[in-house]
Symmetry: C2
Subunit: 457 residues, 2 copies
């Protein structure tokens, strides 16, 4: 009962789709942020649910950890095999299995990325709206309960996964949910699996809610005299019920990165980026109302983008922000924060964070999905400087404290992974022990992504 025994059997099961090459192990041992590389013992590339089930049974028999892998874009090291074992890469399970246009849903395999899915959906007039920025896999997005720029309008993965097929630690395969839009038939296992970060099972299929491609889309960016005015404009816009599809805050430091990295020529000031979806008439009306509200808070320099090309350029800049920011400080690694607070506390949370970072010796541009009360400070520390790493962690800890003090959460959309485990007890109290109870009930050997999310055994 050892990992090598498991690998021997897995090799028989999967042939050359069980890889032990150094390059593969290295590729699946790294993360997008500051966590130390942790190569697994092997990487499996299953092609069917049945193979994943067989894999789980072999791993269960030999006590071998199993860690799901999508596109590797997690910011909290979710895919790191910290206790060794096999990383299960869903790259070969990336098909769209079924599109039900009249019910506006589809069934996909977990390895498909959101961009590939939307490319396949283009001709149907439908799209999948959840947009975390990175071209993440749908399985990974479900595992981390991802959201991003469009959650203010379309919700998060919690709202948009209707059902799943999941292989459990003991090899049971379950189907959760149904294609009905609602159900009261027992515990919401879909909701339990979404956000469980691979600790309860390996997802092999997802049924997703789709939406009609909007008839008209209009995007804009505008500058504000200061951070507080921008945040207050967001709150006023939400309270006036202007239906935004996106409303993003970027601070002056982020704008300076945009200017340098993407050749933008934006004024050095905090900005909001917005988008409206609807009919030609409704989009024009929404844009007019937003312009009026923003104007009251001092917004200037509106740039509107209605053509697809202009819009894509605008949002590409936003989506690349993490990478552009990171590259703006050579040699730095990122500690990414992700707090989410009630909207009434957002101005306070952003302002305190700004002051904290202003008083620090490391940079930390701030940007976020402010319509949800969610924002990120990208704290950049030189990896070889213990002093800078400590400072980034100190600031990150203060952000977490702030979120909890203000009635919010330490992670709005990135998940726990390696980086936020230390805050779970404070956020959830006894609720964290309940998560541990559920984990032990479904995975008593602690083989599904061990070392993540629940209290240490």
């Amino acid at each position: 009962m050892t990992i090598p025994d498991a690998l021997a059997e897995l090799s028989t099961l999967l042939g050359d789709r069980l890889s032990r090459s150094k390059s593969d192990l290295d590729l699946h041992g790294r993360s997008e942020t500051h966590f130390a590389p942790t190569p697994p013992d092997a990487v499996a590339y299953p092609e069917t649910t049945e193979e994943v089930q067989a894999l789980a049974r072999i791993c269960a028999r030999h006590g071998c950890p199993m860690v799901g892998w999508g596109a590797g874009t997690s910011l909290e090291g979710h895919g790191l095999a910290v206790r060794g074992g096999v990383v299960v890469d869903f790259a070969r399970m990336n098909a769209v299995l079924e599109v039900n246009a009249s019910d506006m849903d589809c069934r996909v395999q977990p390895g498909i990325t959101r961009e590939a899915l939307n490319t396949e959906l283009r001709a149907t007039g439908l799209f999948f709206p959840v947009d975390p920025g990175a071209n993440a896999s749908l399985g990974g997005m479900a595992a981390t309960r991802a959201s991003g720029t469009t959650a203010v309008r379309y919700g998060t993965m919690r709202d948009n996964v209707l059902g799943m097929k999941v292989v459990l630690a003991d090899g049971r395969v379950i189907r959760t949910g149904s294609r009905a839009r609602k159900s009261s038939a027992g515990y919401d296992l879909t909701g339990l699996m979404v956000g469980s970060e691979g600790t309860l099972g390996l997802v092999t299929e997802l049924t997703l809610r789709l939406y009609g491609q909007p008839e008209a889309i209009s995007s804009a960016i505008c500058a504000f005299p200061d951070m507080g005015s921008a945040v207050d404009a967001v709150i006023a816009t939400i309270q006036m019920c202007v239906p935004m599809a996106r409303i993003e805050f970027v601070d002056q430091a982020t704008v300076e990165v945009f200017n340098a990295a993407a050749g933008a020529d934006l004024p050095a000031a905090p900005h909001l980026m917005v988008e409206f979806h609807g009919s030609d008439a409704s989009v024009a009306e929404d844009a007019r109302r937003f312009g009026e509200i923003a104007g009251e808070f001092g917004a200037t320099g509106f740039r509107w983008a209605t053509l697809a090309e202009e819009r894509n350029k605008l949002w590409k800049m936003r989506h690349d922000a993490y990478w552009s920011i990171l590259q703006s400080r050579p040699g730095a690694t990122a500690i990414v924060t992700d707090i989410c607070v009630p909207l009434s506390k957002l101005a306070e949370a952003v302002e305190e964070t700004r002051a904290d970072i202003a008083g620090s010796f490391i940079p930390g541009p701030i940007l976020g999905h402010v319509g949800d009360g969610n924002f990120h400070a990208i704290l950049m520390a030189r990896r070889d400087s213990a002093e800078e790493m400590d400072e980034a962690k100190r600031l990150s800890g203060r952000l977490a404290d702030r979120a909890l003090r203000l009635g919010g959460t330490v992670t709005g959309e990135h998940g726990i992974g390696m980086g936020k485990l230390g805050y779970m007890e404070r956020e959830h109290g006894a609720g964290w022990s309940v998560m541990g109870d559920i984990k032990r009930a479904l995975d008593p050997q602690d083989l599904m992504n061990p070392g993540k999310l629940v209290p240490p055994a």
Copy 2:
């Protein structure tokens, strides 16, 4: 370690708020539908979370079942203490604890009813939209994952409970969720508790999402030449993205009951009842578009209600439908069905059900929240006729089969309770055993509403 030992200690804890009067036991031993009366051993009326916690500890020590009770409006006998023990009636925990107008949320105790909550909210400009018809308690609505007429616009209890305080079987008190609008911090315990029917814990507080009271509301009822046209009109309206707040189907038999019971003078035909929420302009535009679409499917006899009084009359008739239908057949009891299917299968499901009932010897008016794919047949059998009861159960079973064959669920909003337990294995397969695993992990003695929802131990 017996129930009497528990009751002795509970009596010391609660004084005369532990009732053993025959009238109280009878009142808490009955249900709204056909289930046999099952009086509990006692009824407790706690006033604080701390008392519920003390109660749970006493019950756990003595192996005494605990069954939560709200307004007693469940249609599936959720509150029946089928293994004896204590019914925990939340009548004295019915306060609004906090309203955060700027965040559009509130914190309430579980015993408050939805009408009482909306009365308290009136002056704030906000409202809680979930409307199952009956004046249910919010705790009960959360327990059954209730929805009703407005789910097509505002979602179900799954979408509108942001957090909870829950007393577990072992006396642990947990807070789930936060006041942030989204979170990726671990398992979604709020989502797990919503719909768990009191089998995992006793909810003592709920944080709810609120909405702005619409500036304008417009309701209407119109007739269709046949059931299929009405259902097709609903599907077309949804696909054209007309934003409806309510869209309800009532068949000819229901309309005849409306005419007799509520003094309506509607033509003997299937009808749709609709409502639009928004600005004056948007409501007028939505109503115009709906009128156009419905007209294409043969709708006639539109009656619009824009004044509050007219609207209230219309929806009171709909909300009273269950009682009016039941009273239309003296001596009958109801077996209420509640299937929910993908919208593309709705016409087929309704038409097959209609044909089934037409070929039967008991009546079964059909009505439902068709915008969600959810509808009810109220199967009326004389309680003293074994033949009629068997026939009702046969029809109900065929409805369940139909739902599952069409990719749906046996219960869209009423829950499992006593009535749908027999379908759980077929709907969920191995997923039902996972529900059992979770139940055992959190309630190993099976004391929280035993005999419901999960597989028998």
